[in-house]
């Protein structure tokens, strides 16, 4: 039962991360990677962006945007290593490295957003 709950937990993070990675990240890439640098849209100023980031709701949004896709990556990469390399005996190591990586990324994102501006 415990194992079952674990799988449901990690799959929920994977699934939520997948939705964000598929829907929101392309919007950010389009805006900040193409539209603003190429002048398709008027780019906001640094001060304007900083003012936005100071809003708690924007920080929460950015935190979720950074964190959940990392868990999506962790789940995919775990199974890519697990099945792709067929290293069943390293399951615990792979598990720890993948989700551990996502946790480190999440903590780092939280730290940077918390200490911003």
């Amino acid at each position: 039962m415990e194992r079952q709950s674990n799988e449901a937990f990690f799959w929920t993070l994977f699934s939520a991360g997948g939705v964000i990675a598929a829907i929101l990240i392309p919007v950010h890439i389009f805006l900040f990677g193409l539209a603003f640098p190429l002048g398709w849209l008027p780019a906001p100023s640094y001060e304007h962006m900083m003012a936005l980031v100071r809003l708690p709701v924007v920080r929460i949004y950015l935190f979720v945007l950074c964190s959940l896709p990392l868990f999506h990556w962790a789940h995919r990469f775990r199974y890519t290593l697990f099945d792709g390399l067929q290293v069943k005996h390293l399951n615990e190591v792979i598990f720890t490295l993948c989700y551990g990586g996502a946790v480190v990324g999440t903590v780092l994102a939280g730290y940077l957003l918390w200490n911003m501006g």
Binding site: Q4, S5, E7, A8, W11, T12, S15, D83, Q86
Partner: protein, 260 residues
């Protein structure tokens, strides 16, 4: 005069051979011939010792599934002529990942055990008296499970699924799709009883959503979709177990009872 094609057929007799080998047969190609017709031609005209399973010849019985040029196919629904144009050979092998009984015949016991474990039948906790009449269903209620009910247990999806190959304890696509066929049926009350087997690392969580099962299904069932549907349900149940712990506990007791 019909064109000819070479059929490379896997031959294996466990009592006699250390490992499977291939035997080549030249067979005529008629426009209306399927791979199964070619095997029947070999059996009747060339080599009566060739062993394979078949029955209905019309994609209903699900017994003539084989690997044709490395792809899981129903041989009764796979035209020989579609392989003939590059003058090449057609390689026919038993379905991948299954033990072989002889030549092209696979051993299905393991699949049948898995299928039985998910209880693919209508489960009722109450049986209303016959005088109440039949269980009525709306077209919408029928649509929810109808596509999963088209499964003919041909096991092509098992031969296509890399997880089945890597992890033999995985319950597998067809069994999960059939469990979902009954879970989605408005007449069924057995969803909780199926949870212990389905929401398990050897059940839905074993699936990594490769999607090959859905691609090869000759009856256009979507087992990959059934598994994703059930993953979402299991994840929501898991979330609910925090919101409403009492209800979840009673479910566990029932699941464990179903396990025994």
């Amino acid at each position: 005069m019909a064109d000819k094609i070479i059929l490379e057929v896997a031959r294996y007799s466990p009592e006699r051979d250390a490992k499977p080998s291939f035997q080549s047969y030249e067979v005529p190609v008629y426009k209306e011939w399927v791979v199964l017709d070619a095997l029947n031609y070999i059996k009747d005209q060339v080599d009566g010792s060739l062993t394979y399973r078949w029955s209905c010849r019309m994609g209903i019985c699900g017994s003539c599934g084989m690997m044709v040029n490395g792809e899981p196919k129903l041989t009764c629904a796979t035209f020989l002529s579609s392989y003939a144009h590059n003058g090449s050979k057609v390689r026919v092998e038993p379905l991948r990942y299954f033990p072989v009984v002889r030549d092209l015949v696979t051993e299905l016991s393991d699949f049948l055990v898995k299928l039985t474990k998910v209880k693919p039948w209508l489960i009722r906790h109450d049986e209303p008296p016959l005088t109440q009449g039949e269980f009525l269903q709306t077209p919408d209620q029928l649509d929810r499970y109808k596509q999963f009910s088209m499964c003919i247990n041909c096991t092509l999806c098992y031969a296509a699924c890399p997880v089945v190959g890597l992890d033999p304890v995985f319950v597998g696509p067809a069994a999960i799709a059939l469990a979902q066929r009954y879970n989605m049926d408005s007449r069924d009350q057995g969803t909780e009883e199926r949870t212990a087997v389905l929401a398990h690392p050897e059940g839905i969580w074993g699936c990594t959503f490769v999607g090959e099962c859905t691609r090869v299904c000759p009856k256009h069932v979507d087992p990959a979709g059934a598994i994703q549907q059930y993953k979402l349900k299991a994840a929501l149940d898991w979330v609910k177990s925090f919101v409403m712990p009492g209800e979840h506990k009673s479910k566990d007791v029932r699941s464990e009872a179903a396990n025994d």
